[in-house]
């Protein structure tokens, strides 16, 4: 009887009260499943090609991924030719043009991609033979052609232009120079110039000397048996000839001896791309490799410490992570986050804080258990992709790992202690020997980042990883645009004297295509303007503004000014536009930078009206003079940036005027010489008449 009751009680929860679960705490997991790494088989062809086969029939697809085990190549002033050779592969064979190859690949719905150290190809099982035929032809009958090289170079140049505007891409690009230096192949960057130096011969030579089966691993993964794979690979890659492959060795890049702050200035940035990074010597065959991996995961994997701190506690970023990567040559540690400009220094502080904390505090027991379970689970999840097993096999071969490395991986991972972890942290997490590298808006971030640099000096880099001198140019917080403009006004004569003037006539001349052109500028208080250009007494062009309306006329006819053009001429029509900026609220002026103009340092001041940029003006830090301005001009050929420099300031009455102007517009450059400046002599009203 007693037995029956207990059976009923046990049954109850399932049959009658399904909802009676305890919601107040997380349910206990079921028995941990056994994680079996799938099997693979391997064989080697006579030519040395090592093949790994992972059979997986979930999807009727077969993939081939070839990886060459090569030492990197130092490219010098031809940086990019190795990658270019990888891209040329697949664009021509002795019998096929690129278009024919593309057609053959797409016809069977296949994917084929190539690189300097390998290729990947996949298709449905039923197209397997056609796929192998194409891949084999691409590889064994490769023929590189000049026209395809030209195309790739042009594409690469476009890619460079894109990267220069992509803060993430820019960060990856320049961080390679920081990490590995110019002397190591990893630190060489493709530039427009280096791309121009690449010849077809360079690419052919690379391919011939490096693409050899005795240096290659091929992973065959998917709906295929080892027997089939063997037959296919022998048939399609058996004729691939082995050869001697160069094995250059390089000095191992060193980490910095102390913390260095480096910036690539990107004035349009609304976020800073932060990297705390340094080179690391870590490889899977090192004793503390697993401990180092756990350490990095705890610091910045998944949703661990960096994410929790920078995102969930502080709201600085969408995500903060760290990465400890290895390669046969040299690895790197990188902690990264994209954060809004104003919290850049705070975010750097928190990253360094977390790096320091993992070194100094033993990891609490619960957290250690969590990170181990996380890595164990993710190891299991990674097996869903059959390529993982192939990757394990190739890694084992390349790093000469013990045969049970991956089968014992989880056991070894779970045996790591908090002490071992801390030891690994002290060895591999180095907040005191890192580059704090930021792509961002210097004028808003630089000053507050100085404190992180060991000698308080920020190093600036350009987009090609060259050090540039912007050091003196951080805009001091204690100076404002108004002061800069006031200093300029003082320098040319002072407010009082400027206000004495009611009209200005400036006679200038320049040379255009060998002909002398006379240029006369009339300005009258409060803001009337006439600029007339004449050649041999004939009026070539005229711009007039009457205080409200503007018109431009020339050989091509007459045009009423509107919108930005009108705003611009209105600004220029003031006798002294700088005075208008000081006195009229519609103008807004801001210092955005300090830059070198010729040999002088200058404040860069942006003048805006209604939030639209009208002019960018450069004021000499020492003399106060306006020495340069830039603006955009509409021409029949499109909009062109116009740069004007001003020099040779001379006194006319009590006010100084620049007597020498130099103007560049597009490819052209003109010197405009002032012959005479006449003030307060009156100008006839009809000079400013707009029809």
């Amino acid at each position: 009887m007693k037995n029956i009751i207990s059976i009923l009680l046990i049954l109850f929860p399932f049959s009658l009260l399904p909802a009676q679960i305890d919601r107040s705490k997380a349910p206990e997991p079921g028995t941990a499943p056994t994680i079996n790494i799938g099997d693979y088989e391997s064989f080697t062809l006579d030519n040395g090609l090592q093949v790994f086969v992972v059979e997986n029939q979930k999807i009727p697809r077969v993939s081939y991924s070839l990886r060459l085990d090569l030492n990197p190549v130092k490219e010098g002033d031809k940086a990019g030719y190795v990658n270019t050779a990888g891209q040329l592969l697949g664009t021509g064979t002795t019998n096929k043009t690129k278009a024919e190859i593309d057609q053959a690949i797409d016809y069977i719905g296949a994917n084929v991609s190539t690189s300097a150290n390998g290729l990947y190809a996949s298709s449905l099982k039923k197209h397997n033979n056609q796929l192998l035929e194409i891949v084999s032809e691409i590889l064994l009958e490769a023929e590189f052609r000049q026209e395809e090289l030209d195309k790739i170079i042009q594409q690469k140049k476009s890619g460079l232009a894109y990267t220069k505007n992509d803060p993430g891409g820019l960060s990856n690009r320049v961080s390679n120079v920081l990490l590995y230096g110019n002397d190591h192949p990893f630190g060489e960057l493709e530039t427009e110039a280096s791309l121009d130096n690449i010849t077809l011969e360079d690419c052919k030579a690379y391919f011939n000397s490096h693409y050899r089966p005795n240096k290659a691993y091929l992973a065959v993964v998917g709906d295929i048996t080892t027997e089939e794979a063997k037959e296919n690979v022998t048939r399609y890659f058996g004729a691939w000839e082995k050869g001697d492959v160069p094995e250059p060795v390089y000095e191992t890049p060193e980490k910095p001896t102390e913390t260095e702050v480096a910036i690539v200035d990107r004035s349009e940035s609304v976020q800073s791309v932060i990297k705390v990074t340094y080179p690391v010597d870590i490889k899977p065959n090192y004793n503390d490799y697993i401990a180092a991996r756990i350490t990095n995961t705890l610091l910045g994997g998944g949703i661990f410490r960096l994410f929790k701190n920078l995102r969930e506690e502080h709201g600085y970023t969408y995500g903060a992570y760290s990465n400890l990567s290895h390669s046969q040559e040299i690895g790197h540690f990188t902690a990264s986050a994209n954060v809004r400009n104003e919290v850049t220094d705070s975010a750097v502080y928190e990253i360094l804080y977390e790096m320091e904390r993992i070194r100094t505090e033993p990891v609490p027991k619960e957290e250690l258990k969590g990170v181990k379970t996380y890595l164990t689970g993710n190891f299991a999840l990674s097996l869903e992709n059959p390529q993982t097993i192939a990757r394990f096999a190739i890694n084992s071969a390349i790093y000469n790992l013990p045969s049970n490395f991956y089968t014992n991986y989880l056991k070894n991972l779970n045996a790591i202690t908090a002490e071992e972890l801390q030891k690994a942290a002290q060895k591999y997490i180095l907040p005191g020997q890192a580059y704090i590298f930021i792509v961002g808006k210097k004028s808003e971030i630089a000053d507050k980042l100085k404190r992180f640099d060991a000698d308080s000096t920020i190093t600036y880099y350009d987009e090609n990883g060259n050090i540039i001198d912007l050091s003196g140019s951080a805009v001091p917080a204690d100076i404002e645009a108004v002061q800069v403009i006031e200093k300029y006004i003082e320098a040319i004569g002072g407010k009082e004297n400027l206000k004495e003037i009611s009209d200005i006539k400036t006679h200038m001349h320049m040379e255009m295509q060998g002909m002398k052109v006379d240029v006369t500028l009339y300005k009258q208080k409060p803001n009337r303007f006439n600029l007339t250009m004449t050649m041999n007494g004939q009026v070539m062009s005229q711009q007039i503004y009457d205080g409200e309306k503007g018109v431009a006329s020339g050989m091509q006819g007459k045009q009423n000014m509107e919108g930005e053009m009108l705003n611009q001429i209105e600004y220029e029509s003031y006798l002294f536009p700088a005075l208008a900026v000081l006195e009229d609220d519609v103008y807004e002026a801001n210092i955005t930078n300090i830059e070198k103009v010729n040999d002088s340092e200058a404040y860069v001041v942006e003048i805006k009206k209604d939030d639209r940029l009208i002019s960018t003006e450069y004021f000499d830090k020492n003399t106060g003079y306006k020495i340069k301005s830039t603006a955009l001009v509409k021409t029949p050929q499109g909009d062109v940036k116009q740069v004007t420099t001003f020099s040779d300031y001379q006194k006319v009455g009590n006010v100084k005027f620049p007597y020498q102007l130099s103007q560049t517009m597009g490819p052209g450059s003109y010197d405009i010489i002032t012959d005479e400046v006449v003030v307060n002599e009156g100008i006839a009203a009809d000079k400013f008449k707009v029809d």
């Binding site: 009727p60 797409d106 232009a161 894109y162 709201g315 996380y374 299991a380 509409k634």
Partner: protein, 444 residues
């Protein structure tokens, strides 16, 4: 003769294997309206859980754009029984991964875990559906996080604003006129009470589908789903689904955006009907014809032959309500958008007037087949697809049969839709030019 037999024999196993790849599943509704889809795959001890809510940026008020996505972030804040910050940790400490995303039409949440942690995923998802708990700290933190996400993905990216610009131009009435990330000013204004109203209205069992795929036992899993989701109240029954009549576009719209870029870019959008419409599959095939693979018409002509573009593509932005067929091109250094536009239009003209050769049509079919067969290789994407087919096509079994819909498309169908939709008066042309070309400025 002997050869022919061999061919036949070769074909047989292929047919058989295609049959074997059928994806088996079970589906049913709970009393409260939650739709449940289960798929067993015991090849690895892992499980993917996905719950998709039929709510997206389309359900937002025009003065609260970005709201559905902001709310998605708050769904990780916790519940009556889960403290702030614990949601992520539970999944992570169980060895799993999780995430979520919001589109115009839907918001979906998923966990992938070792299969012995299935209960945990069900507890977490049922907790936040039953009694989500958010506080001001969570709201203010996620407000900042979402704004950083916006900067990272859109504001600080070259061409990052194209989608917002395109949809704003394309629609005048329909809520597709704003994009899921929304406007900063509205992200700034969103309030606690509004979040809770939104939650009560849209986050109800009848407005969701739950898919569980992986190493599961069907009966046991049904039991667990019942325990965790069975007694969640059905709640609101009348979901607001705005779909105002968008007036047909009658003439071409054009605009120019000046961005922090060096390479100009061209984005063209053509109005097309909603997903599942008779013209939907022909449009998807048209997309592949134009730009899938390097032998595709646009890539071959504009990238390889004329070398006008660094990148070119077409993309079907087709949703629950009428969408856009997008083509985009990034110019090579020094190439003009005018030439690019002319060449793209010439390719469309050529298709409309000259038709499609047999071999090219076969190519498209082979590409479609490969993509269809390989797209759901991972349990997580499979679970998302199952919910998607159920909620937006009302036919979960399309996971197996959708290929037939592609196969019934003829060459004439593709040319018909090209003629019907890819016409000037039906398009929006958006040019991206370098900021240095902005504003006509006159100087002395």
């Amino acid at each position: 003769m002997k050869k022919r037999i061999a061919l036949l024999l070769l074909m047989l196993p292929l047919l058989a294997s295609a049959q074997e790849k059928r994806i088996e599943f079970q589906e049913y509704d709970l009393d409260n309206g939650l739709h449940v889809i289960l798929h067993q795959d015991t090849s690895l001890p892992i499980v993917a859980v996905n719950i998709m809510y039929h709510v997206g940026s389309k359900n937002e008020d025009p003065d609260r754009t970005g709201f559905a996505h902001f709310f998605e972030h708050l769904m990780f804040e916790g519940s009556e029984n889960i403290g702030r910050g614990e949601f992520f940790e539970y999944v992570q400490n169980a060895g799993g991964n999780l995430n979520a995303f919001t589109t115009f039409d839907k918001t979906t949440y998923y966990e992938v875990l070792p299969s012995n942690q299935l209960k945990l995923a069900l507890w977490l998802e049922s907790e936040r559906l039953l009694h989500l708990k958010i506080d001001s700290i969570g709201i203010e933190t996620q407000r900042k996080v979402v704004k950083e996400e916006r900067k990272q993905r859109y504001e600080n990216q070259p061409y990052g604003s194209w989608m917002a610009e395109m949809f704003e131009l394309a629609y005048t009435k329909h809520p597709y006129r704003w994009v899921p990330i929304g406007e900063v000013q509205y992200i700034d204004q969103a309030k606690y009470e509004e979040f809770m109203d939104f939650y009560k209205h849209y986050y109800v069992p009848g407005n969701a589908a739950l898919a569980i795929c992986g190493d599961i036992d069907y009966e046991e899993t049904k039991e667990l789903v019942d325990q965790y989701f069975g007694n969640i109240p059905a709640g609101n029954q009348h979901i607001n689904r705005p779909n105002p009549d968008e007036p047909a576009q009658t003439e071409e719209k054009r605009d120019t955006v000046y961005d922090n870029i060096q390479l100009p870019a061209l984005f063209m959008g053509y109005h097309v009907p909603e997903q599942g419409h008779d013209d939907y599959y022909p449009l998807l095939m048209l997309q592949k014809l134009l730009s899938d693979g390097q032998s595709s018409r646009l890539y071959k002509k504009l990238v390889d032959e004329e070398q006008l573009c660094a990148q070119i593509g077409t993309y079907p932005a087709i949703f629950e309500d009428a969408g856009l067929f997008i083509s985009y091109a990034i110019a090579n250094m020094g190439k003009s958008l005018t030439d690019i536009e002319t060449q793209i239009n010439a390719q469309i003209d050529k298709l409309q007037t000259e038709g499609i050769p047999d071999r090219e049509f076969e190519k498209i079919k082979n590409i479609v087949e490969t993509q269809f067969v390989t797209q759901n290789a991972q349990l997580n994407s499979l679970s998302i697809s199952l919910c998607d087919y159920y909620l937006f096509f009302e036919n979960t079994n399309l996971i197996n049969t959708e290929i037939n819909r592609y196969e019934s498309v003829t060459k004439d169908d593709i040319i018909r839709v090209a003629n019907k939709y890819l016409v000037p008066e039906n398009r929006i042309v958006l040019k991206y030019l370098p900021k240095s070309q902005d504003q006509a400025l006159i100087t002395e």
